[in-house]
Symmetry: C2
Subunit: 200 residues, 2 copies
DNA sequence: TACAAACAACCAATCGCTTGGTAGCCTGAG
DNA sequence: CTCAGGCTACCAAGCGATTGGTTGTTTGTA
């Protein structure tokens, strides 16, 4: 059905972006390996062969979708940090809030990041995925180093635990629920913060 | 179709378990969709068709491997709780330690649990995966409810954050490292515990 | 005309799964 | 002891469908 939904709008919007967005949505919901290029093409309304005019391979689709997802989260977090104050815990809370709002938001790109374990890929793809994430994690490395943590707490383990709690939320979060991503982020940060600042 | 075929045991090495273990190892390292029946059969040293004497389908392989993984973690945690004392935080620490020791240990079954997002599956398979995990999470529901948490902290969000931090460890843990799963679990629990017990 | 963007047809390879057949072992009747 | 018969565990071959990807041609628009 819908032989041509066509028309009027091939306008401003880039068809290549449409393909990338459809790919990201399918990767996020079904996983990379379970998504075929015909699935992606059908979602956009083109044939599988036409897809290769825009992208050289399925791997390129994944890498670019993943990169865009990381870029979106990075942009959101850096924007939140620019608007935040100077207290370290306040900055951390702002970053985690922005992180979760994008991760649990409607963008299909950010949803590609967490479910695709880099360990499921080999060689170049795996290396590229890890490299794309590394720059983003540096933001949190800096944020953690500014916190007044007790000497008994390893900053690295603290960072990994916090990011783990945040990145695990897509497993149980349901968009229709009563809790907003921002309130969830606040609750998670509180669980880690109260240890030094009991007067919340 | 299948009466209790289990009764007659060939005491020698159970070939069916070999297949299941190979399947679990491949599911854990490459993901379910990226693992083919022929991959599994080749790992065991049989042909792909022979595999269907032991298992009816690839889905059955996943479901049984997942169930065995959940059973292993459940057994380890319940054993640790039986040997632990009565203080709520001590019991929680013991459970988390056992949880991580199995999750990061050598068993391929437990490693199937975390990387396979149930959201990547449909219908019966998804429902079964969720059901298998539910019983295990009840243990942590009970443990959290016994903790003297401040009223501002949601027990549900606390539990999900703690499990998120734990279940995220396979993403970054490397077996050769200097930290043991037990010490990692202790560090994670400490990050959540210090809030009420600063004199640790 | 010129070019971007798509179609249509196809490829070799691989997918999950089915089938018919058969060694090797164990059992129990003769 | 023999040996038919059943059972376990597998092999060999192949099914239709689908995979990622390629190629030559056609379309819409400027």
């Amino acid at each position: 059905m819908a032989p041509k939904a066509k028309a009027a709008l091939s306008d401003r919007s880039n068809r290549r972006d449409d393909v990338l967005e459809a790919a990201a949505a399918l990767f996020a919901s079904k996983g990379y390996a379970a998504t075929s290029i015909r699935d992606i093409a059908q979602q956009v309304g083109i044939l599988s062969g036409s897809l290769y005019y825009h992208f050289a391979s399925k791997e390129e689709l994944l890498l670019e979708a993943h990169a865009r997802g990381v870029a979106q989260v990075t942009e959101a977090v850096e924007g939140a940090l620019a608007a935040a104050g100077t207290p370290p815990w306040e900055r951390m809370a702002a970053a985690c809030c922005a992180h979760l709002e994008v991760l649990l938001g409607p963008s299909p790109f950010s949803q590609v990041i967490t479910p695709q374990f880099p360990s499921h890929f080999d060689g170049d793809v795996r290396a590229t995925l890890l490299q794309q994430r590394e720059g983003y994690e540096d933001i949190f490395r800096t944020l953690v180093s500014a916190l007044p943590l007790p000497a008994t707490v390893s900053p690295r383990l603290f960072r990994l635990s916090l990011l783990g709690a945040l990145n695990w939320t897509p497993t149980w979060y349901q968009p229709g629920g009563s809790e907003s991503p921002a309130s969830i982020a606040g609750g998670i940060v509180d669980a880690f913060r109260l240890q030094l600042d009991p007067g919340a």
